[in-house]
């Protein structure tokens, strides 16, 4: 009897999980479907779900009108570059705050977070002027710099909470065995923090990939990433939904694939600490 209840519960919770998952995934699925419709069908009311005239003409048009690879390469360089630099700065910062906190550590952490509370448009003009004077407008390095700065507070906070979960005693034991700071970091801390590091890295990558304020405002042509590519297909006067969907599908494809393959790390990292 008890076993039956468990099975039934299992079935119910599996179905519920699939339902929730489907619900969350539905907008993306809808976008992918719309990208294979004609403009007229993409707008049809009532909408057709699967039974429509499938076409790949939107992808052909998008490919013909813009240089997807150029934008995609920019996205990879900008998101990857800013993530890497942010991690290089954030790991030592979080490590020092987690393992040798001072009286002001909490204040510093709060201050870092407070910078995220300001709407970015408030500093658009000053940043634009600085970038103009330093010749950073429409350059990849300019975008890497601003995205790295923008994501640093979140990255440091995330790493800080992961590092804090690691018992200090283990590090002390290592030190008693004669480990130097370098060895302690590489052989003791890193293996224990891998899930945390991986999920922070992935989250930072996704945030940088999707960032659509600075990338749209500080780039023109040469450094324009996929966000600019998508924005060129949106229009308030004219039906471009199918083409917009095709552009969006192309834009999210790389990050979707990456997320799919690393979902185990992502979940482990995000629930790290809670399981202890």
């Amino acid at each position: 009897m008890a076993r039956m209840v468990t099975t039934r519960r299992k079935v119910i919770s599996t179905v519920a999980a699939w339902l929730v998952g489907f619900l969350i995934f539905f907008p993306i699925l809808w976008m992918v479907l719309a990208s294979f419709k004609t403009e007229l069908e993409a707008f049809a009311i009532p909408p057709s779900f699967l039974f429509f005239h499938w076409t790949t003409e939107n992808y052909a048009t998008v490919q013909e009108r813009s240089d997807y690879l150029h934008h995609a390469l920019n996205s990879i360089v900008i998101a990857g570059g800013s993530t890497l630099i942010a991690m290089l700065i954030a790991v030592p910062a979080a490590w020092s705050m987690a393992f040798s906190p001072t009286k002001r550590t909490k204040d510093i952490l709060l201050w870092m977070l407070s910078t995220k509370m300001m709407p970015p448009v408030g500093v658009l003009v000053p940043i634009y002027l600085i970038y103009r004077n330093f010749g950073l407008l429409d350059t990849r390095s300019g975008l890497i710099f601003i995205l790295c700065l923008g994501n640093l507070p979140i990255v440091i906070w995330m790493l800080f909470t992961y590092f804090k979960e690691i018992p200090k005693d283990i590090l002390e034991a290592a030190r008693m065995d004669g480990a130097t700071i370098g060895r302690e970091l590489i052989y003791v801390l890193t293996p224990m923090a891998v899930p945390g590091l991986a999920s922070t890295l992935l989250l930072n990558l996704i945030l940088a990939w999707n960032e659509a304020f600075w990338t749209l405002n500080l780039s023109t042509l040469e450094a324009a990433p996929l966000t600019v590519f998508i924005a060129s297909y949106s229009s308030p006067e004219g039906l471009f939904w199918a083409k917009l969907s095709a552009a969006s599908t192309l834009a999210i494809a790389p990050i979707l694939v990456l997320g799919w393959f690393s979902q185990r790390q992502l979940v482990r990292g995000l629930t790290f600490g809670a399981v202890k």
Binding site: P236, E237, L239
Partner: protein, 437 residues
């Protein structure tokens, strides 16, 4: 040996002559719509004639483009050489000296051929600051089959009473046909473009001559009450989230008996590739109430050169090409006359081939002629612009008023509450900006 010598001499000549053709790269910022995309595709025709100029395109969604271009021009960032801007920006930016006056468009450009109303809208103190690429007004698009079936006849210049009456008669909610589709989505360029034009026809205005907001006037109350009542009785469900695209989709699917919106929509609704009702559409002027103003707006997308651009000559050359009569002919030869950018030149409307290819040509021209940006309303006003007031503060004010009116349409607010909220928010902004004390 002689051959080798010739080859070497030729190569040397090439090497020496190569730097003499200095390449100028123009960066053109533009919005994403059919006519602009077409121009992008035809750029090679321009560069073939001007081998020293390369053209690069930055296409962005309208609101993104507006923010992007405004930031750049205000800070003199110099990222663009040619800008696509609306009639709203031209007078404001020209007065700030952000734009280069276009006086080198060439002898054969024929400025006199530009439609007078459109030319006025892009000129300040008699100087042209932008060249119109395409112009539009708004008009009534209606289903001739439904009108015939109901025994109704649409006049060329209908009154609001007729439109309201017809909308109620033609509504068949069980059959999924609604008498009228109008914009409801909040935004200064969305529902407020339509409602400001409608208010003009009811004798209402945004500000009096002392810049005092006028939402507490009986004319505004009548405008908004008429709009909300009409949409409740004869409009499609969820109209408060409908903009141009949503209504276009509804009309093309045969769900609207009438639609009052941009004249450019005419080429979409009559195109059998996109529309189920392509051969059943008629056109009429936007409605009036007999006060001398019709409920139609005036808008144009224009090409301009930002002040501080170091490539003014090349930029003007490009603009002259893109807005010329020859460009119209080029489009006609490649894609047919119906696809020529409308609403900018008198000669286009006198062209019999265009008249034949575009059944909406006559009404588009009549609509543009019926709008006057310098005298937009029945009563005198201190601002320029038909469906907007050309002051920098209008974008913010217009959108916040648009949200109030959209809420009244959705039923989450009443007409009176929306008007009084609009009045107080506009008063506050106008005081802050120093127009009134």
């Amino acid at each position: 040996m002689k051959n080798v010598l010739c080859a070497v001499a030729g190569a040397a000549a090439l090497l020496i002559s190569a730097p003499s053709i200095a390449q100028t790269t123009l960066t053109v910022a533009t919005v994403n719509n059919g006519d602009m995309i077409r121009m992008q595709g035809l750029t090679s025709e321009f560069t073939a004639k001007n081998p020293d100029i390369t053209v690069k395109w930055v296409t962005l969604e309208e609101n993104v483009l507006r923010q992007r271009v405004t930031t750049d021009i205000a800070t003199k960032g110099g990222q663009f050489d040619v800008l696509t801007i609306g009639t709203y920006e031209v007078p404001i930016w020209a007065k700030k000296n952000w734009l280069v006056p276009l006086d080198k468009l060439g002898a054969d450009y024929d400025v006199g051929d530009l439609l007078p109303k459109i030319k006025d809208a892009v000129s300040v103190d008699g100087k042209l600051y932008a060249a119109p690429f395409y112009g539009e007004s708004s008009m009534v698009m209606y289903r001739t089959d439904l009108f015939d079936k109901a025994g109704l006849k649409m006049p060329d210049s209908p009154t609001w009473d007729f439109v309201i009456d017809a909308a109620k008669k033609l509504t068949d909610k069980s059959g999924g046909v609604y008498g009228i589709c109008l914009r409801g989505k909040a935004g200064w360029g969305e529902n407020m473009a339509f409602l400001t034009a409608m208010a003009n026809s009811f004798g209402a205005h945004w500000f009096d001559e002392k810049w005092e907001p006028q939402f507490n006037s009986p004319e505004w109350k009548k405008t908004l009450t008429t709009y909300v009542d009409l949409m409740k009785q004869a409009g499609p469900p969820g109209a408060s989230s409908n903009g141009f695209n949503e209504n276009l989709a509804l009309f093309n699917a045969g769900k609207c008996a009438m639609w009052i919106d941009a004249t450019v929509a005419a080429s979409f609704v009559t195109n059998p590739k996109d529309s189920k009702v392509a051969d059943k559409v008629g056109f009429a002027l936007a409605p009036n109430t007999g006060l001398g103003k019709n409920a139609n707006w005036l808008w144009a997308w224009n090409l301009a050169v930002p002040a501080g651009s170091k490539k003014v000559d090349a930029a003007e050359k490009f603009i002259a090409w893109a807005t010329s009569k020859e460009y119209s002919k080029l489009v006609a030869s490649k894609e047919g006359w119906a696809n020529v950018p409308p609403g900018t030149r008198t000669s286009l409307y006198q062209n019999p081939e265009y008249q034949k290819a575009a059944p909406f040509a006559k009404m588009t021209l009549a609509s543009i002629d019926a709008a006057d940006p310098n005298k937009p309303t029945v009563k005198p006003v201190p601002y320029v612009g038909v469906q907007y007031a050309a002051i920098p503060e209008f974008q913010g004010i217009g959108t916040s008023v648009g949200q109030q009116f959209s809420a009244a349409l959705a039923g989450s607010s009443t007409v009176d509450a929306a008007l009084s909220a609009a009045q107080s928010s506009t008063e506050r902004e106008m005081k802050r900006a120093g127009y009134i004390k």
